[in-house]
Amino acid sequence: MQLVCPAGNLPALKAAVEHGADAVYVGFRDQTNARAFPGLNFSEAELHEGIRLAHARGRKVYIALNTYPDSVRVEQWFAAVDRAAEFGADAIIAADMAVLDYAARTHPSLPRHLSVQGSATTAAALTYMHERFGISRAVLPRVLSIQQVERVCAASPVPLEVFAFGSLCIMVEGRCQLSSYVTGASPNRHGVCSPARFVRWDEAPDGTRTVRLNGVLIDRFEEHEPAGYPTVCKGRFDVNGEVFHALEEPTSLNTIELLPRLAKAGVAALKIEGRQRGVAYVSTVARIWRQAIDRHRANPEHWQVDGAWQSALAAHAEGRQTTLGPYHRAWH
């Protein structure tokens, strides 16, 4: 299994390559990718340098072009596909049909991976994308149980990549409008979820902090209570008179204990989430997953989870807690 790591900038890319990523995924500094955050992503010069560095070490670079352009902006996405081809990227990761179709026609030899934002959860949907746009890999949305992943792997016309670690989107990717409902800006259209410019923290004299997203109260924290980033799905709300994390707690996905099953199912690549995270995160997470994959490859019968891996990963998890998420039926 290939290890695919996030790189929000050149130092993160170097760290990922250094610590064992087989491939890194990156984005241009605009809304063509789903992590269009201020201060993140690559200028053209940085991308040239990143690809050169990765290729010198025999690693691959995938360029995420996984947002959905509207009719007026679609040419900008097509131009980004052209640049990805010209820069020598090893693949693009895209979700929108228009972008995939343009890439297939204009740069047929540039591999096309279906992004998680493409919301394909079945062999039928994957077959559509394969027959229509010649995708050579797809990233599965984080909604399937491990048994369902195994079945889709067996029936899929293309190799699959699954999320292994990182912040957990709990909705079907590509079909979540919670961010735009509150801010007008969405992962699909603008490459952002709950953008920071809409976040407002207020501290009361008693130390209580409230956090709002465009004026909507997402959560309130006592003085010493740990506080997470206010995406709508990780807030605390009142349902039936009870206040709790009604959708999900601040937590990260960690599937390391499923590694043998994912390998056996024929999963082609494990994806680490977190282009918005720094060098320390990328280094630690890449190093641990590299070790886990290598040890499994060397000796699958006697492979077991190393306790040190789990504590190191938990330290980099949202809310310092991890979950098997949808892979585990009990989460549903």
Partner: protein, 294 residues
């Protein structure tokens, strides 16, 4: 302008559902969408019951469309989808690419439901090649995006398909593997007891300040507000919108349909009864929120 009854998003008892649709057959609607789009565990009506209901309602002269699941996870769900696509009589609303693929393989036309991601004329054109006959715009596709898409279609020399826009109801915002109703009731999804049947208009979720915010509807999250585009009917007509989608609600649906029928047939603008749909103005979907942070 046509009026379409959107698929029932909530889970109602079999009796309630059948009674609702038998009444709906008498309302001034042009089209009725039938079928389960949210959760395959909801089986007060099985797939064959929905198809039988479609046969029954077709006698009313209204067009009947069979809607399909937005999120498909299990083989059994694909099997049910295949049976709907192969019903042999009714047009299918595809809410996932799985349904698009099944229709395309069989050379059948389909309606593109609001959960297919169509943001540009180019994407729409590709789906037209696959058999798209009518397009129900998603929640993020507001006036300007559609207007620009229409212009781009004509620049591409493409004919715009029939366009349907959500004009009444709570906006479907997100879908998950997780059942949020089960979570709120502290029960396991696999042993949920179908408790969402107790919330025929969804389960309200409020902020900690008590402001109504979202609606929990099983694995689906909706906006809490019932959006109302009736005051924009003139503008919708000018944009070439062919049909208005009205989402079923537990009470008062007959009045909702009658009000829209009167509004569509009259030249006098009507006052808003529900909430403004911010998405229509390229603003946050929830009414009254600013486009730029304060």
């Amino acid at each position: 302008m046509q009026l379409s009854l959107g698929p029932l998003q909530y889970f109602w008892s079999r009796e309630r559902t059948l009674a609702f649709y038998r009444n709906a057959a008498t309302w001034p609607l042009d089209r009725i969408h039938l079928g389960e789009t949210v959760c395959s565990k909801r089986r007060e009506l099985a797939t064959r019951d929905w198809v039988a209901l479609a046969d029954e309602l077709a006698a009313s002269g209204k067009q009947i469309v069979l809607s399909t699941l937005a999120l498909i996870e299990a083989e059994s769900e694909l099997g049910a989808l295949r049976r709907i696509v192969e019903n042999g009589r009714f047009l299918v609303e595809a809410n996932d690419l799985s349904a698009v693929q099944y229709c395309r393989q069989r050379g059948l036309p389909f309606v593109a439901g609001p959960t297919l991601n169509i943001y540009s004329a180019q994407a729409l054109s590709l789906l037209i090649e696959d058999g798209l006959q009518r397009w129900v715009a998603g929640v993020e596709q507001g006036h300007d995006l559609i207007s620009e898409l229409r212009a781009a279609m004509s620049a591409l020399g493409q004919t715009m398909p029939e366009l349907e826009v959500i004009a009444w109801g709570r906006l479907p915002l997100a879908y998950s593997a997780r059942c949020f109703t089960a979570r709120a009731l502290d029960i396991a999804k696999d042993d949920c007891g179908f408790r969402c049947i107790e919330h025929p208009d969804g389960l309200p979720l409020a902020t900690r300040e008590g402001d109504r915010f979202l609606r929990i509807n099983g694995v689906q999250i909706q906006g809490d507000e019932i959006t109302d585009l009736a005051p924009e009917i003139t503008e919708l007509a000018a944009l070439g919108v062919a049909a208005l989608r009205l989402y079923p609600q537990h009470e008062g649906m007959s009045d909702v349909v009658a009000r829209f029928r009167a509004a569509v047939d009259s030249d006098t603008p009507v006052a808003r009864v529900g909430a403004e749909n911010g998405y229509w103005r390229a603003a946050p979907g929830k009414a009254g929120l600013p486009l730029q942070p304060a």
